[in-house]
Symmetry: C2
């Protein structure tokens, strides 16, 4: 089987590629080739049995979609996106990548399907987000609750979800949209996602560095680890998608916690010294964006289809320490 990963140099993209390289197969079918693309060339995953082709391709260019689909990949993991903070500050760039380039990708698949006489019909797995939801919310959000995003990023994700359902219904591809929780603890340098601090207030103090908390401690989040997020994509790759019926967007499982509870979990691992490294400095734009995000879901459909995440924030920190933590240089 041939796979294509967009956004392969991003944090989750990288981890997904490493995991695919380690497993070498999807649902028992060996991976024969992997095309890994991002705006900057992704690093080839170590130890892959298949030959990874790593390319710097900007999906915003008009020809990119046609090029990456020309080899007719069997599974497309579409993770490439302009993140929430940047899509909010750069309206044009957000729509150009998150909506228009994505639609061109879908059309390129449709074109290949037509050229193949209907034989080509790949699986398309999309990184959506709980940012498709916007306040006001009920206490717990169920699978029938409306998408009413409060950011351009959330609007773009919700629009692509509708496209995926329609293209899947029209049998252009077999699509599924995974609404990722806030993924914590992110390793490495922060990106421009408005949610970055949820990770940095854990990661930085555990490495002896200061971190800024721009929102109140009462802020609630729905979160899962990067390892769980990669697991969502692998589960989606192996699932019988016909069982989903026409509704192709699934809110992924996660753990509901508050920033205050995050900090207490940090204290249990890193002690008071770590907690003292968190500097409270409310940033109105961040606080406003994040306050419109949902903090608690049922995620029943996703659980019924075998998607699973952590059940405590301590567990999420443990995953970070196992997978990504780089000890402070003394």
């Amino acid at each position: 089987m041939r796979i294509l990963v967009t956004g392969a140099a991003g944090m989750i993209g990288r981890k997904l590629c490493n995991r695919l390289a380690a497993e070498g197969a999807i649902a028992g079918r060996p991976i024969e080739s992997a095309h890994l693309v991002d705006v900057a060339a992704p690093t080839p995953p170590a130890g892959a049995h298949f030959p990874p082709i790593c390319e710097a391709i900007d999906l915003a260019s008009a020809s990119a979609a046609g090029e990456i689909v020309a080899s007719r990949p069997d599974v497309v993991f579409h993770l490439a996106a302009v993140v929430s903070g940047e899509a909010e500050s750069d309206f044009d760039k957000g729509y150009a990548v998150n909506l228009e380039a994505t639609r061109r990708l879908f059309e390129a698949i449709r074109h290949q399907r037509e050229r193949s006489g209907g034989a080509y019909r790949p699986r398309l797995i999309y990184a959506s987000s709980i940012a498709v939801f916007g306040a006001p919310f009920p206490e717990t959000i169920d699978d029938d609750f409306l998408s009413a995003p409060l950011t351009s990023y959330g609007a773009q994700k919700a629009i692509v979800e509708l496209l995926i359902a329609d293209y899947s219904r029209r049998r252009v591809f077999e699509g599924i949209a995974l609404r990722l929780p806030t993924v914590v603890v992110r390793p490495g340098p922060a990106n421009r996602a408005a949610s970055g601090f949820f990770s940095s207030i854990i990661r930085e103090p555990l490495s002896g560095r200061e971190a800024i908390l721009p929102v109140p401690e009462t802020t609630r989040l729905w979160c899962a680890s990067p390892r769980a997020a990669v697991g969502f994509f692998l589960n989606a790759a192996a699932l019988d998608l016909e069982r989903l019926g026409p509704r192709r967007s699934l809110t992924m499982p996660g753990f509901s916690t508050t920033v205050g509870e995050q900090i207490e979990a940090l204290r249990r691992v890193g002690g008071d010294a770590a907690v003292r490294l968190i500097r409270r400095q409310v940033d109105e734009p961040s606080a406003r964006i994040v306050s419109g995000w949902p903090g608690r879901f049922e995620a029943r459909r996703a659980q019924a289809f075998g998607f699973a995440a952590e059940s405590s924030f301590d567990e999420i920190i443990r995953v970070y320490l196992e997978d990504d933590h780089v000890a402070a240089v003394a």
Copy 2:
């Protein structure tokens, strides 16, 4: 005030233009000019005090949006669309008009706003549809229920709703999306909407002609008259849209009835002779499309904002007889 109406030659567009011509003002502000466009040139409404400019403009052409927005209309009524049946049979045309041309219209407004230094910010009133909803449904659909359309037309309407909310939040325009019920009784020849028979089974027998019923009598619909639909647009034009907050899509009020109840109402007006002109001939594609449509709503938000419709199907037939019925030639 300057107004622009797209889809002005359509059934509702025509009635809206006639009503605007008769009233001559919106919320007390006189209409100074009206630009009425459609793929075929609209007929100028009779008795208008303002000079209507009626033009044949195909919104699918790349330059159309820029042209119609160049004069900076204060209120844009955006009704132009490829209807449900055609958007289902012609995938490309549906997306080209219902999504891409609409997005170009929004971008043209954004461009004019930027050129005006932020002074220009029109009101945009969009004809959405209850086709944004798809089965399975609860018994009654409330204002928080998800959009999960089962047609490309419904997907395109739901996508534009998300764009309207985002562009409104970004203050490009003041937008509102009116989710129209099934509009019955439509006068004149049928268009390619899958819902056309809901009208023809009343209209045709009342004129002594046969009509085909392609779905079971148990089929439930949420309906309102063309007069009520025009009223929704006028109410939206006069409303303080800031009060809506970020959620800019409103399910319009209507009356929940079944095809069987429609037929009994027809019998009360036209007698058994009229009912005998309905020929039952189930058409699978139509039945499938319509069976995925919702039949009962609460529409609480819309009612709170002053939108109103009929409360019986007899009343809907009476409106048809008053506004549109052409007696059969003996």
